[in-house]
Symmetry: C2
C-alpha cells in the first residue's frame, strides 16, 4: 500500500487550496497511490497523527471546485520548524514511524521558504538513513512572492489582484471631494515589496494609481517623503501612497518602530503602530491636510472572491506537478514556475533542488524599482500583469461565497 | 426648455452611480426633459456653475452599465450645508439664478440625511417665493442605512455584502492556526450599528461568524467585554469580534477616546486610535493571547466588485422613481423604499415629505439586538438577508474592474 500525505504550512493564501485540489486530483487518477491523507495543522498534525482522509471529504468535482475557491489553508497550518536532525533526530524518527504506520510513501508540503526547510531536512534525513521509498516534495505558496528559483509563487497573483482592484476602487473614493487629501495604504511585506508594487496595476485601465510607491527594498527617508507628498499634491488634489509594512530608514530602523519605542497608552503599555499610521501622523503634522491610513490587513490574503484565475490555475498545476514528480521518483525537490514569455504569457513547471529555496528570500530586483525609489518600472509592470488575469466564478449561496470546511 | 440637474452629496457608496443611471435613463425617455446636467461636487458645483452634460459622457448602454458599476460619486461630492434662508437668502437667490440661467426646472439630489436638509430648504424657499415651476426631490444614499422613512438605503446592501463576505473569508483565515486568537474588526458607523450587524450574515452558509457583535446602540462595558471574550475563547479557538467604530460606554464616552486623550507620539502629537485598536490593546493586556484589530476602512464603501445586485437594482429604481415624481409635479419629497414582505422579498417605491427625513438618524431598534447586547436577533437577520442577494457581473479589463470616470 502506498499512501500520499499532504500538509499546508505558513500564512494562509487564497490559492493554497487550489494546490491541494491539484494534488487530490492527480493522486486520484494514479494507480500507484491508495489513500490520500491530509495532516491537520501541518507538521504538528503528523506528530499528533491528526489525519483526515481527503477522498471522504472531497467526494466529487463539486467539492473539488468549492475547495479550490475556499481561501486559507483548509487543512490548517502551523509555524513549526524542525530541529537539526544531526544534533537530535527524535522528531525525524517520530515522523518516520508515523509514515510507516500509515504507509505514507509520498509527502507533499505546500508552503513558503520556512516550510521548505522542513522538506529539505526530511529529505536529507531519509537519504542519510537510506530510506529510499519515502519521497518528499515541496509545493510553493506565499502571497509575499519571495521564494527563490521560481518566477513567482501561487497565492501572490490573487493577492496582487485584490490590491490592484482595491487601489482602483480607493482612487474613485478619494477623488470625490474637492480638498487636498493624502491616503496612505500599508501593504503586507516585511522584507520584500512585491505586493506593494502590485498597487501600480491599478493604473492599467487609465487610473492615476498610487502617486508614490515605497517598497521595503529602498531605504525610506522621512524628509524626502514629506517633500514628495507636497509635490504630488500640486499635481493631484487627492493622492494615494502605497507603502510596504516593512519600510525602514537607511540605518535599518523600521519606520513603524520610530514611534513604537516611546509610545505607550495610559495603561502603560506599548502601542503597536504600523508604518502607515506613523506616516499618517507625520503628514498631519508637517503638511496639515486631510490624511488617512489604511491597512489592507488579512483581507489581502483571504479575499477569495476576487482571486486571480491565472493564479488559481497555476496553483492547481503545481499540485499536479508535485504528485507527478513524486510518482517519477523525485524527492527533496520543489515545484517551480518558469516563465518563458510575458506576452503571450507562457510558463512551464519544473522541479528544482529544495536546498536552493529553503530559508531564502527573493527581494524585488533593482531594475524593477525607479531610480527615485518612489515608483516601479515598466519592467515590473510587465512582470506583474499576467499574474492577475482572469476572474473566478466562485459559488455564492445566500449572497455570500460558499466555502468547503474540512475539519 | 426644461432641463434636469442631478447632484451627489455626502460620503461615497457603491450604489450612488446606479441611482444616477436610473435618473439619466428616465430623463432620456421623457419628452418633457431636454438636457441632463450633472453638478460637479454637489451644491458647490451649482454655485460655481460646474456642470457637465451627462448625455455627452454617458452615450450608450455600455457607458450606462459601466457607470452603474463604478463605485463612489462619479459627479463628485461635497459636505456643504445651506444656511437658513429666513435669515439670509443669498445662497438661495444664487441657486435660483443659476437654475434660471440653465433652464433647470427639475433637480435631484442623491444623498443622506444631511443632504436632504438641502432639498428641504430649497423646496421651502421655492414655495415661499412662489417659484412653482422648479421641482426638487431627494434620492436616498448611504452605507450607514440611517435614513428615516425608508426600509433601507441604497448603498447599504452592497456594503453589507462586502462586510458579510469579508467576515466569512476572515473566519477561514483565522481558523488555520491551533492557538487562541482574537481578531477585532471595526466597522463603519459612528451613530448607527446597521453595518456592524451585517457581519452576522457571514453565518448564513454555516459559518460561526463573529462570536461577539457590539453595535453603538448598546452601552459598551469594558469589563464585560473582556469576560465575554474569555468565555468565547473556551468555545472557539480563534474568534472574530465585530464592533461599530462609534461604540461608547454608558457615560457616552467613545471607546476610541478612552486612550486618545492621554495618548501622544514622540513628536508630542495626539494619536488617533480607533475603537478596535483600543480593544486590541486591552485584550493583549488582560488576556494575553494573540490579538489583532482590523479596520474595514474605505473598502467597505468602495468595493464595487462585490456589490449586491439587489442593492444596485434598487438604487437605479429610486433614480427612476425620482424623475417620475418630478414629472408628476412632486416637489420637496424623498424617494422611500417600502418593504411589503421579506420572504419572498417584495418592495415598492413611494415619495414622502422631505421634512420627515432631513437631519434625522435611524438607529437599530431594540428588537434587532439581543438582550445581552452582544449579538443581533433573527429578526435583524431576516431584515438584512434580502439586501445582499445577487452578484454583479462587472466588466474587468487587464484583470481589474473597469470604471467610468466623468470628469
Amino acid at each position: 500500500m502506498n499512501n500520499i500525505l499532504v500538509a499546508q504550512s505558513g500564512g494562509p493564501t487564497v490559492a493554497i487550496n487550489s494546490t491541494l485540489t491539484g494534488i487530490i486530483e492527480a493522486a486520484q487518477v494514479s494507480s500507484k497511490i491508495d489513500k490520500i491523507y491530509g495532516a491537520v495543522n501541518g507538521i504538528q498534525g503528523i506528530f499528533e497523527e491528526k489525519f483526515i482522509e481527503l477522498e471522504e471529504l472531497v467526494k466529487n468535482t463539486d467539492d473539488t471546485e468549492l475547495l479550490g475557491y475556499t481561501p486559507a489553508a483548509a487543512l490548517g497550518s502551523c509555524r513549526f520548524k524542525l530541529n537539526d536532525w544531526r544534533e537530535n533526530d527524535h522528531q525525524f524518527k517520530k515522523i518516520t514511524d508515523v509514515f510507516r504506520k500509515y504507509n505514507i510513501t509520498y509527502f507533499v508540503l505546500i508552503g513558503g521558504n520556512d516550510s521548505m526547510d522542513t522538506v529539505w531536512k526530511l529529505s536529507e534525513y531519509f537519504a542519510e538513513k537510506g530510506i529510499e521509498d519515502i519521497k518528499v516534495i515541496g509545493a510553493p505558496k506565499t502571497i509575499d512572492n519571495d521564494l527563490e528559483e521560481t518566477d513567482h509563487c501561487p497565492g501572490f497573483g490573487s493577492a496582487a489582484k485584490y490590491i490592484a482592484t482595491t487601489f482602483a476602487e480607493l482612487e474613485r473614493d478619494i477623488s470625490v471631494y474637492d480638498d487636498p487629501a493624502v491616503t496612505i495604504v500599508e501593504v503586507m511585506g516585511r522584507n520584500a515589496g512585491w505586493l506593494t508594487a502590485a498597487s501600480a496595476l491599478s493604473r492599467l485601465n487609465g487610473g492615476t494609481g498610487p502617486s508614490l510607491i515605497y517598497l521595503c527594498e529602498t531605504a525610506f527617508d522621512v524628509e524626502q517623503f514629506i517633500e514628495a507628498v507636497k509635490e504630488k499634491l500640486l499635481v493631484n488634489n487627492a493622492i494615494l501612497v502605497a507603502i510596504s509594512e516593512g519600510i525602514m530608514d537607511k540605518k535599518g530602523v523600521y519606520i513603524s518602530e520610530m514611534v513604537q519605542s516611546d509610545f505607550q497608552d495610559n495603561f502603560g503599555h506599548k502601542y503597536i503602530a504600523g508604518a502607515g499610521r506613523v506616516l499618517e501622523n507625520l503628514v498631519r503634522e508637517k503638511i496639515g491636510c486631510k490624511v488617512r491610513s489604511i491597512e489592507l490587513n488579512l483581507m489581502q490574503r483571504s479575499a477569495g472572491h476576487i482571486a486571480s484565475q491565472v493564479d488559481l490555475n497555476e496553483a492547481k498545476m503545481t499540485g499536479r506537478k508535485a504528485v507527478q514528480c513524486l510518482l517519477e521518483g523525485v524527492t527533496g525537490e520543489f515545484i517551480s514556475i518558469v516563465r518563458k514569455c510575458s506576452e503571450p504569457y507562457t510558463i512551464e513547471y519544473k522541479s528544482v533542488p529544495i536546498s536552493k529555496v529553503a530559508n531564502k528570500e527573493k527581494k524585488v530586483p533593482a531594475n524593477f524599482i525607479t531610480a527615485s525609489g518612489m515608483n516601479i518600472t515598466d519592467e515590473m509592470l510587465q512582470y506583474l500583469k499576467p499574474l492577475i488575469q482572469g476572474e473566478v466564478n466562485i459559488k455564492y449561496e445566500n449572497g455570500i461565497p460558499k466555502h468547503l470546511v474540512l475539519y
